[in-house]
Assembly symmetry: C3
Homo-oligomer: 242 residues x 3
């Protein structure tokens, strides 16, 4: 199974062209859209999101990840094998949290190049063919790379920021709920929020935080939109009150 994690957006020809390459090079491989709207041009916020969502996929899953504002620049194209799952994409920090939270990690720098490599669409021309190779059980086409070279040691283990706002207006933070002691409150946009277990725990219109279905602390409003009610967007800071 190849899982797509990109900031290509829902519209436009980008995801479709990648899928056409995957279909041609790895016919029959299942391809699943996870995020097409990862934080745009923001590998850091994306890294916390990816690390929260990847572990629920089975071993052998290949994550084809493209949040790559430096396409055409100098970041290396990389492959990682982390606890039995594969990751293909730019070495710009996008895999930092997946790597940091892992047991066993191996890294490669992709040195394979396609016949034609566009300057702006490595997702289609470089990363998708490599993901297809892995789906066909080939080895990563490149040299082993010291994983530490791409580390972002200065990034925290949990990111106290909004990293994603979903269709319902719920705002995910980059904080794993499991690290927060019982009774923790979160402060965003000047509001102090209690923890709830489910939406129906709370009065309609009340803002709260809860552990979402992938373990992130998420800010929501029962029968409302937290993004509008609190004025939240990606990058907004979150304070932890324990």
């Amino acid at each position: 199974m190849i899982v797509l994690f990109t900031d290509f957006g829902l519209s436009g020809p980008y995801t479709g062209q990648m899928k056409a390459v995957l279909h041609r090079e790895a016919p029959g491989a299942a391809v699943i859209d996870l995020f097409a709207d990862a934080p745009a041009g923001n590998p850091k916020a994306s890294a916390y999101l990816l690390a929260a969502y990847a572990p629920s996929f089975p071993e052998g899953t290949i994550f084809l990840c493209v949040v790559d504002p430096g396409v055409g620049g100098v970041r290396p194209p990389v492959v990682l094998e982390v606890d039995g799952r594969w990751y293909v994409g730019p070495g710009n920090g996008l895999f930092e949290l997946v790597r940091r939270r892992a047991g066993k990690v191996r890294c490669w720098e992709i040195d394979w190049r396609p016949e034609r490599l566009s300057a702006s669409f490595h997702g289609r021309d470089l990363f998708a063919p490599v993901a297809a190779m892995l789906a066909c059980d080939a080895s990563p086409p490149g040299k082993v790379r010291d994983c530490a070279r791409d580390a972002r040691s200065e990034w925290p283990d949990d990111l106290a920021e909004i990293v994603y706002v979903d269709h319902y207006g719920n705002a995910m933070t980059g904080i794993r709920a499991a690290i927060l002691p019982a009774g923790t409150k979160l402060v965003v946009a000047g509001q102090v929020l209690d923890r709830a277990t489910t939406f129906s725990d709370r009065q309609p219109g009340t803002a709260f935080w809860y552990e979402n279905a992938n373990g992130l602390a998420e800010i929501a409003v029962n029968q409302g939109r937290a993004d509008r009610a609190l004025g939240l967007k990606i990058g907004d800071p979150v304070e932890i009150l324990t």
Copy 2:
């Protein structure tokens, strides 16, 4: 074939995670996105939409339906078999019109539970695995339930409201066009609208209603957007002038 009918929205990781479960539990089953933008948190409007779109699918189709504002609350998880098609989702009225318009109906309450059931994402954790079981020809994992228990008898047979606004700005009502006598006019937002057969029947800019390709009375403007021209949104009342 498994058909998805949800209010998860187009963006975000929800549909992808459900598809990953379906792929794992029912590999090879075709999965089709019908609506990812059913009326959000609105099982009633969604029920009329689903009942209009489901009958065109072949027997054996499994509809995985999640419009579930009460997730984590008390509504029962259910399976219905209706005229040879299967429906999996919350027993919150979402299947009311499918059931009411049917010949033969059987209902079950799902009593199977996964190893890990999140509080907020039964679509992934409960309903998708059950849909996958049905796709693998298993029986519904639960007890037969009296279908009448979930009935919404107070809901009308046709809903004289806007239930969906599409990409073109066309506004679908919850009224089957076939029940409307010849010469029927619809009144919305203070405007009296005549019936047309096709868009090109009407002058550019003129609002009208017509029977859409799935049998619903739909309000449109030739070469324009009815939602903007008339200020329409989901829930707006429609009056029938016969």
Copy 3:
């Protein structure tokens, strides 16, 4: 492989219903979404977009194309075979540039009709079944048609207009970059833009044009949105300064 090119939008039941037909009539055929947001109701702009994106697909690909403001009107439903690829859709100019830039072209007018043909959704009722027939290696169900009958000779070889704005706010023109001499500047919204090779060539915030990954001249802003910075939308004129 069947590739979808429509203006159905990302939301709503249109693409899903077409895919259900394709699955029923050509089970196992891969279906790829290329554009669901081709310029709405605009076969001319769509024609330049399609001609830029189609050639990268392999021979034998079937393009199911629906940008069809005249549905229910008089435009003929057509099939084209162009350099080994198939195109199915309305004969309203949508295939003009594909045809004009081709080596070998054959055209048919579809005379097959389904049992039930809705007035407004030929994509599902007529074009999808025909695409499925082609995917099953059937001949086009119709009579050979003189391709010149649907020609739009008055349309230019390259369209000096914005034809698409993507998720990042980049604005594609209908001009092939390869026809522009070195040193060409493009003028849009009163601004004179230089050519760049990659985004990272330019200072953040600077507008420029570049050859996109499918050969079109595209207007962008490094780390910004060209559509907002320059106020661009589909149909805006572009001037070529050589």
